[in-house]
């Protein structure tokens, strides 16, 4: 099977013009197949503030009312997505920017209202990813860049979680590709000692994750990432790598000393 890397970048890279440029340069240097999923960064919050729209977060999740879904669609699927496309084109990487609504790439349903009404937030229908489309684009030499926006079946836009988009796509593509899911963020991996940036654990086996949660090595913000990683591997992804966005080339080349690799 051909190799494919599904890469997720978060706000820390998007918000830093220099870091983003280095990252996109490194990305364009990868010769094997790749799909990029991006989050939103601070731009949506900044635009909301300039427009006088209050940003409401609950447990790190954005409450997405009618005005906010417009703002996130404009920033994620508009400015950020097309800026990345234009920059990658300039670096010689043929790129297409899509969101989850395009060609039913990442179908979703509106999250049911429980204790909290998240508004226009969607839960991904993980078994309905349009892997046929992604396969066709990859085989045409096109790198796809995906914004975390989808829509309801009756045509309303939805805000979806970029980490879960990346995981769902990696799982769907692993039927036909030897797929690595790569979460790029602001740390060098799962750190044995949070105070020591150079203490990334090189390898974690799926069966070891629960023990690392129990002893507190995996805590707070890292827990959902690891849970996503475990789900991805259980569902067929070859490996999940967690590392620093600035180390993209080393992470892709599996250079020793970079990132944390989670495998079966």
């Amino acid at each position: 099977m051909e190799k494919l890397t599904v890469i997720k970048i978060g706000g820390n890279v998007i918000d830093n013009a220099e870091a983003l440029d280095k990252f996109l340069g490194d990305l364009s240097g990868i010769s094997s197949h790749k799909v990029l999923v991006h989050g939103g960064g601070k731009l949506a919050t900044e635009l909301s503030a300039r427009l006088g729209i209050e940003t409401k977060m609950v447990d790190g999740r954005r409450i997405t009312d009618e005005e906010t879904i417009k703002v996130v669609t404009m920033t994620y699927a508009g400015f950020i997505n097309k800026t990345i496309v234009a920059r990658l084109q300039a670096k010689g990487c043929d790129t297409m920017g899509l969101c989850g609504a395009d060609a039913r790439l990442v179908p979703a349903v509106r999250r049911p209202v429980g204790d909290i009404d998240y508004g226009w937030v969607g839960d991904i229908q993980t078994n309905k990813i349009n892997d046929t489309l992604l396969h066709m684009l990859l085989q045409s030499g096109v790198t796809t860049v995906i914004a975390p926006i989808s829509c309801t079946s009756d045509g309303h836009l939805l805000n979806i979680n970029a980490d879960t988009v990346a995981q769902s796509i990696a799982v769907a593509m692993s039927k036909n590709y030897d797929t690595t899911l790569l979460y790029c963020f602001e740390k060098k991996g799962v750190l044995r000692d949070v105070a020591n940036e150079n203490s990334a654990i090189p390898y974690i086996k799926l069966c070891e994750t629960e023990a690392l949660k129990s002893d507190g090595t995996i805590s707070s913000g890292m827990i959902p990432k690891i849970d996503n990683a475990c789900k991805a591997i259980s569902d067929g992804v070859a490996q999940v790598v967690i590392g620093h966005a600035g180390d993209l080339t080393a992470l892709i080349n599996e250079q020793p000393g970079y990132g944390t690799r989670i495998c079966r």
Copy 2:
């Protein structure tokens, strides 16, 4: 050759929720191949105003400074494009939203500074349209919806003219499809008497357009549309139709009494 219709809609449809919904319902009912190109409407101007960015127009063209290219990318390639995609998906029409920068669909260069510096405005490289990509998408049953945004070769976003995008795409596709270019706007066609909405001229031959300009029948805002139409036909498009967005089905079905048809 298979039939293809390249349809351009302008701001008057986009700004009116009810008219847009009817138009997209009619569009989803067209069984033959179609590509939709949309303009921007008032949204970019409104968003600029809310953000305190001054809108400068010269001869109906937007001067696009660094802040304005962000606003038009957010509104055209973000909110408007993805809103249309979501609505068409809901109506059963499988749709992908792109801009000219995606997969080098509509390459452009920044307009040279002459008497006026238009800023980040692009001139389309009409001979470099990625018709291979559009052909692949059409043959996969996907309708493409295109926002008038492209980029420079060094990766800066550009505002491009939607009428010219539609014309360039129609010309490029006419190599492989029996292509009609359809300009939908707020009038029923080229009117013999501007005061009479029901005086649309049914047919105009390419050789008759100069006389109609000379006698004043084709004037002001209609002149660039007709010039675009003549260029399209000279370059291989089978016919150009100009008509009211509310009459889409009748225009597509070539129902007598609807729109103005321009042909060789």
